[in-house]
C-alpha cells in the first residue's frame, strides 16, 4: 500500500479524501477538515522524512540571508568550480554583505568573464557603492552591449551617470529608454524629473504632461508638471494645474507650497500665505516654514514671520536662513537709528517636496 503525498492529501477533494481513508483504513466520517487532518497525521507518522537536504550552495545562500556573510563566504569558496559562474555570484553577494566591496567587484567580474552577463550589473552596483560611478556606468555599458533593450540596465546607467555629475548623458539614456519602452508610463515621469534637475524646464513639463496623459491618475506627474511650469515662468498655467491637483488631493503639502509660491510670483501675497499655512498644517517642513516666514516678512507681519523662523529653528537649530530671518526681525534690531531696508527675500524656487526629492523609480 503506497501512501499519498502530503500535498495530495492537502489538495484532495471530498470524494478523493474518503477514498484515501478507505485505502488506509481510516475513519472517513466527520467534517472534511478533521478527516483531512486525520489523514495528514497518518501520512506524517508513516511517511518518510522528505529527502531534500540543503547542499553547500543552499547553505551558503541561506547564511548570507541570515546575516553571516563571513561564514557564507567560506562556504561559497568551497563550491567554486572552473566552469560555473554561480558560486562567484554567490561569493560576490556574501562579500558585498560583509562590506568587502573590492573583493565583491572582483568576484562579480569573474562571474561575468565566465558568461553570466547579469554579473556586470551586480558589479556596477558594487562599484557605485564604492563611489566609482564612472566605473559603474562602464559596467552597465558592457551589460547593455549584449542586452541593448534591457530597461533595468538602462535605468541603472542613467542613475549612475546622474550621480557622477553627467546629467546631460543621463537624460540621453533616459530618452533612449523612453523610446525603446513607450509602454512603461513611469519612464516619462523619471525623464521629466531628470530634465527638471538638469534645468530643461520646458522639456521637463512636456515629459510630465506625457506621463499624465498616459496615466491620468498620476497626480505626482501633474504636481511635478506644475512645479516645472512655475520654474519656467509660466505662472498662470502652473496655478491652474496645481489647483486641479489640489481638487483631487487637498492634503498634498508640496503642491500647496508650490501654489503659494506661484501666487506670490503673480503678486497675490495674501493667497500665497493662506496656501503656505495650509501646507504647514499638513507637513511641518523647514522649507515650507521658511517660505511662509519670508512671505509674512515681505507683507510686514513681523511677529508672524518671526514665529515661522522660530518654528524652523526648533526643527533645524542651525538653519542659516532662519537664523538670518530671526536676526533681521529680533526686537534688538529696532533700536537702530537707521532702519535697514529688508532685503527682498521673495522665494523664487518652489520648496522641495518629499515627492520631488525622491529618486527616479526604476
Amino acid at each position: 500500500m503506497s501512501l499519498p503525498s502530503l500535498a495530495e492529501v492537502e489538495h484532495a477533494d471530498w470524494p478523493s479524501l474518503q477514498r484515501i481513508c478507505e485505502t488506509l483504513g481510516l475513519n472517513p466520517k466527520g467534517r472534511s477538515a478533521v478527516v483531512r487532518m486525520r489523514v495528514t497525521d497518518f501520512v506524517r507518522r508513516r511517511g518518510h522524512a522528505p529527502s531534500w537536504k540543503p547542499n553547500r550552495e543552499h547553505q551558503a545562500a541561506l547564511l548570507t540571508r541570515l546575516g553571516s556573510p563571513d561564514l557564507a563566504e567560506r562556504v561559497w569558496e568551497s563550491t567554486i568550480q572552473l566552469d560555473a559562474p554561480a558560486p562567484w555570484m554567490g561569493l560576490g553577494h556574501a562579500q558585498l554583505a560583509g562590506g568587502f566591496l573590492g573583493e565583491a567587484a572582483k568576484s562579480f567580474g569573474h562571474a561575468a568573464a565566465m558568461g553570466d552577463s547579469s554579473a556586470e550589473l551586480h558589479r556596477a552596483e558594487v562599484l557605485a557603492a564604492r563611489g566609482d560611478f564612472d566605473g559603474a556606468a562602464r559596467a552597465c555599458d558592457t551589460y547593455l552591449a549584449s542586452h541593448p533593450r534591457d530597461l533595468r540596465g538602462l535605468l541603472m546607467k542613467s542613475s549612475f551617470l546622474a550621480r557622477a555629475g553627467f546629467e546631460e548623458e543621463s537624460t540621453k539614456v533616459l530618452h533612449t529608454a523612453v523610446d525603446l519602452h513607450p509602454e512603461v508610463p513611469v519612464l516619462q515621469r523619471t525623464l521629466g524629473l531628470a530634465l527638471l534637475k538638469a534645468g530643461h524646464l520646458a522639456a521637463a513639463a512636456e515629459a510630465f504632461h506625457e506621463a499624465a496623459r498616459q496615466d491620468p491618475k498620476d497626480l505626482d506627474a501633474q504636481a511635478m508638471r506644475g512645479a516645472a511650469l512655475l520654474l519656467a515662468g509660466r505662472t498662470r498655467e502652473a496655478i491652474g494645474l496645481l489647483r486641479e491637483v489640489l481638487e483631487l488631493d487637498p492634503s498634498r503639502a508640496d503642491v500647496l507650497n508650490n501654489l503659494g509660491i506661484a501666487y506670490l510670483s503673480s503678486g497675490r501675497g495674501r493667497s500665497a500665505a493662506v496656501n503656505l499655512e495650509r501646507a504647514v498644517k499638513h507637513l511641518e517642513s523647514p522649507r515650507i516654514l521658511l517660505n511662509l516666514g519670508k512671505i509674512r516678512e515681505a507683507e510686514g507681519d513681523r511677529t508672524e514671520a518671526l514665529q515661522a523662523y522660530e518654528q524652523v529653528l526648533r526643527i533645524r537649530a542651525k538653519d542659516p536662513d532662519a537664523l538670518a530671518g530671526r536676526r533681521r526681525l529680533s526686537p534688538s534690531e529696532k533700536t537702530r537709528t537707521t532702519p535697514t531696508k529688508p532685503a527682498k527675500q521673495t522665494p523664487k524656487k518652489p520648496g522641495k517636496s518629499t515627492r520631488a526629492r525622491s529618486r527616479p523609480s526604476r
Binding site: K29, G30, R31, S32, A33, V35, R44, G67
Partner: protein, 305 residues
C-alpha cells in the same frame, strides 16, 4: 589516575593535570554521575581557582542536581573570571529564571545580547522572562526579533501567541498559534494554547478535538479538566466523567476536577449524548461536505457555536 609522561618536561606540569581532571569531570557529568563530576571539578578549581571553565561546569552540575542557588553562585564566579562568556551569562540567566528572579534574569539576558546580539536562545528566554514580568509588549518585541532572524521558529510563534492572548488580542494570537502548529504539528504548548483560545471562544467541540491531539503527546491534569468541562458543554456526561476521573488520577487533590465530576454525575441523570465515530462533534460547519452527510448533524448543529 596516571599523568601523561611528558608532564615532567613541562614548565607548568599542573596544566596537564588540569586538562585531565576537567576532561574526567566532563565525562562524569555527561554520564550523569553528578558526585563524580563534582569531585573532579573540585580538584580542577583547587588547581586553578580562577579557571572560568571549571566554574561554568560547576554551575551546570549544580543546575542538573537542582541546586539552583549553588548554580547561580558558580556561574557568577565564572563570569568574574571571564565577563564575556556567553555560556556563563546564559547559564546565570537560566538559573535566575528558574528560581523566579525574572528581573535579574532579564538583565543577564541583556548582557548576553550585548555580547552576542543574534543569540536566538537569549532573545527567546528574555521574552519568556518579560512574559513572566507581565511586560507582554516587550516580550512580543523579543519574539519578533527571533522571527526576523528565524521565521520558522515554532517556539517564537507560540510564545508570541501566548503573549498576544494575554493582551486580549485573540485573533492575532490564533494566527501565531496556527503558524507554530503549521511548522511543528506536534508542538504540545501550541496545541494547549489553541485549546485555551477555543475555551475563551466557548467552542467545546474544538476543545475536545485539540485536547485529544495534545494527549497523544503529553498528559496534564488541567487539560483533562478543560476537556471534561467541554464534554459537559456538549452534553456528553459520561465522557466528561471519564475526563475528570483521569484528571483526579493525575492530581488527586484537584478541587476543580472533583467539582467537575460531581457536576458530570448530576448531568448524567438528565442527558448523556453518544457521539459515535464523530470526533469533530460540536464543530458543525454549514456547507461542508463531511457535515452534509453526517448522521448526527442535527445535534452537532445545536451544540456548535
Amino acid at each position: 589516575m596516571t599523568l601523561p609522561p611528558e608532564v615532567g618536561n613541562r614548565f607548568l606540569p599542573s596544566v596537564d593535570r588540569l586538562e585531565v581532571v576537567m576532561r574526567a569531570a566532563r565525562r562524569a557529568f555527561e554520564r550523569g554521575d553528578i558526585e563524580g563530576a563534582l569531585r573532579e571539578d573540585d580538584i580542577a578549581i583547587q588547581l586553578k581557582p580562577e579557571y572560568d571553565a571549571a566554574w561554568l561546569l560547576r554551575g551546570h552540575i549544580f543546575r542538573k542536581d537542582g541546586n539552583i542557588p549553588g548554580a547561580i553562585e558558580a556561574f557568577a564566579a565564572a563570569l568574574k573570571q571571564n565577563g564575556e562568556s556567553e555560556e556563563g551569562w546564559l547559564g546565570l540567566a537560566s538559573a535566575l529564571h528558574e528560581v523566579g528572579r525574572y528581573n535579574e534574569a532579564r538583565e543577564a539576558y541583556d548582557r548576553l545580547l550585548k555580547i552576542h546580539p543574534r543569540s536566538i536562545e537569549a532573545w527567546i528566554d528574555k521574552g519568556a522572562a518579560l512574559h513572566e514580568l507581565r511586560d507582554y509588549r516587550a516580550a512580543i518585541a523579543c519574539y519578533d526579533k527571533v522571527l526576523g532572524m528565524r521565521p520558522e521558529h515554532a517556539g517564537a510563534w507560540n510564545n508570541k501567541g501566548a503573549a498576544l492572548m494575554r493582551l486580549g488580542d485573540e485573533s492575532a494570537a490564533a494566527r501565531c498559534v496556527e503558524e507554530a502548529l503549521h511548522l511543528n504539528p506536534d508542538f504540545f504548548d501550541a496545541i494547549a494554547n489553541r485549546v485555551l483560545l477555543f475555551r475563551k471562544a466557548g467552542r467545546h467541540g474544538e476543545i475536545v478535538l485539540w485536547a485529544d491531539r495534545a494527549f497523544r503527546i503529553r498528559e496534564a491534569p488541567w487539560l483533562w479538566i478543560v476537556k471534561g468541562q467541554a464534554h459537559l458543554g456538549l452534553g456528553e456526561s459520561t465522557l466528561g466523567m471519564k475526563a475528570f476521573e483521569r484528571a483526579l488520577a493525575l492530581d488527586p487533590k484537584s478541587k476543580e476536577a472533583k467539582a467537575g465530576l460531581r457536576k458530570a454525575k448530576l448531568l448524567r441523570g438528565k442527558t448523556d449524548f453518544y457521539r459515535g465515530v464523530y470526533e469533530c462533534f460540536g464543530t458543525h460547519l454549514a456547507g461542508d461536505p463531511g457535515c452534509a452527510e453526517c448522521e448526527i448533524r442535527a445535534r452537532c448543529h445545536e451544540v456548535s457555536p
